[in-house]
């Protein structure tokens, strides 16, 4: 007898038609999503490699946030009216501006399917229009964090102008989503980014083996990644490592990546894991997804229990099943101590998450020991500065694809792609593709 634990809506992975879905406890005790398309048959996807209690406990502290303002009317229902529509339940934290679809890599996996089709860069005028649109949709407490994305945004030579334009409009946090190739290869480019006002470098970093890069990125890239980190550290640009964790490719590198990141802290501010989702371009054969409990088990085992699964919490503003995070403080002996979890996860607005990211992922203001005989700061200021510098984050986001899309989760999405036609589209609907690679929104 199959135990149905809840009902939701999803889509058919073949025709993307909205269909009913059940979350069930499988024979192995894990949680699955089951759904049927009248035309294309039955689908079952593993969504939680843990028992029912752990699944329910994960969401215990989560509460819905504030819904966005200035939404449009829903006519066709989710996920066909994104932009955002009146059914959306969470304000946004971070928005992605895809500045170009050009790329200097041709990765076998790429959610943005970059480097294909007609090359297109957004003009400064189009970017200004997007900033203005975001200003009209600002949240109750402040403006969105901006992620400059693509394609590969560093292929543009006007990032300084784009950031200056954004700052003039009032935005203050600019995260650069990059593969790091130009930072590593071009002398002085890291300094250019720092001077341009980049707050944090969100660096594609899949592991410490070239074989991993060959599979996920098509070429060996480890030396490039290490150089990019070194150059960012030299100029005080905060780096967050972003590994795409993939079944049977780099799952066994999770512990080594964290070790490496901690060895380069505070220049490396944290690691943000992104288990591979099957949308956009994906030339890998496997369609196995890595769930949150599996990620946490890997982290615990590969850190030899120095980092515990129990250190982690689910998302605050977004659905708890979309993300996991924990913060650590580097102690004077070089070890990392888990910071207490926030007991109230309600995050009545997303400004908490937005401020946390902006504070913790930006470059440390001072690298090294600030406790000196000549400090002119009072103990509070000194403590704040040292705490920000010494904090290290481990987090991850589990994106949804056509196999496991849960429209309840989607309605709480706080990461949006900016699109000139649609407005602000939740990341997982913007990138959603069917098995033929056809998208609902991405052109």
């Amino acid at each position: 007898m199959i135990e149905i634990i809840s009902k939701t809506k999803s889509v058919c992975p073949i025709c993307l038609k909205r269909i009913d879905a059940n979350k069930i406890v499988g024979k192995d005790g894990y949680i699955y999503m089951q759904k049927s398309c009248f035309e294309h048959g039955d689908f079952e996807t593993l969504i939680w490699e843990g028992d029912l209690k752990s699944y329910l406990d994960w969401a215990k502290l989560s509460k819905e946030g504030l819904s966005p303002t200035n939404t449009k009317k829903s006519e066709k229902g989710c996920p066909y009216d994104c932009g955002l529509c009146e059914n959306h339940k969470s304000e946004s934290c971070c928005v992605l501006l895809e500045l170009t679809n050009r790329c200097n890599l041709k990765c076998p996996v790429c959610f943005a399917t970059a480097g294909e089709g007609v090359e297109k860069d957004l003009s400064l005028k189009e970017i200004e229009t997007q900033f203005d649109m975001l200003l009209k949709r600002k949240t109750r407490k402040g403006l969105f964090n901006i992620q400059l994305s693509g394609g590969e945004p560093t292929l543009r030579d006007d990032l300084a102008d784009i950031i200056a334009l954004g700052r003039k409009k009032g935005f203050s946090y600019f995260q650069l989503n990059t593969n790091g190739v130009r930072i590593a290869k071009e002398t002085g480019y890291a300094k250019y980014l720092k001077d341009a006002g980049v707050s944090s470098v969100f660096l594609q970093f899949d592991g410490l083996r070239d074989s991993t890069y060959k599979i996920l990125r098509g070429i060996p890239l480890l030396d490039i990644k290490l150089k990019a980190i070194e150059y960012c550290a030299k100029v005080g640009l905060g780096v967050v490592l972003v590994p795409t964790v993939t079944f049977n490719v780099n799952e066994d590198e999770i512990g080594a990546i964290i070790d490496f990141a901690q060895s380069k802290h505070p220049a490396i501010r944290g690691v943000h894991f992104q288990p591979l989702s099957y949308f956009g371009r994906c030339e890998l054969e496997s369609r196995t997804k890595i769930t949150i409990p599996r990620m946490l088990k890997h982290i615990e085992e590969q850190s030899f229990n120095k980092i515990k699964a129990s250190d982690f919490s689910g998302g605050g503003a977004e659905s708890p099943y979309c993300s996991f995070h924990a913060s650590y403080r580097r102690m004077s002996d070089g070890t990392f101590k888990s910071l207490p979890k926030k007991q109230d996860q309600s995050c009545c607005d997303v400004s908490n998450a937005r401020n946390f990211v902006s504070r913790q992922w930006s470059g440390p203001s001072i690298v090294g020991n600030t406790t000196s005989c000549c400090s002119t700061k009072d103990p509070f200021d000194e403590f704040i500065e040292n705490t920000i510098r010494d904090t290290f984050t481990i987090s991850g986001m589990v994106f949804q694809d056509a196999y496991d899309l849960d429209l309840e989760r989607l309605r709480r999405c706080k990461i949006c792609e900016v699109d000139s036609e649609y407005g602000m589209v939740p990341f997982c609907s913007y990138n959603l593709t069917n098995i033929k690679g056809e998208a609902l929104y991405r052109k």
Partner: protein, 73 residues
């Protein structure tokens, strides 16, 4: 407390009177403790009952900022 340290200091002025004892507060050394961290301060306190006056801008300013940097998102 050593001389080369910088403290968060609040001057007493003439208008702070202990409500319980009815005498003026005087500048006193005190230590704020929060999650095993100590913050030496100099705040107005009653010399008789020891009541320490914490001004609003300290509680809602620096102390709140300390609390915030220790918060996980």
């Amino acid at each position: 407390m050593t001389d080369n340290k910088v403290y968060y200091t609040v001057e007493t002025g003439d208008n702070l009177i202990c409500q319980k004892c009815g005498i003026p507060l005087v500048k006193t050394e005190a230590v704020f403790e929060y999650l095993n961290n100590s913050f030496p301060v100099e705040l107005p306190a009653c010399p008789k009952c020891g009541f320490v006056y914490v001004p609003e801008d300290l509680a809602l300013g620096k102390v709140l900022s300390v609390e915030k940097v220790l918060e996980d998102k």
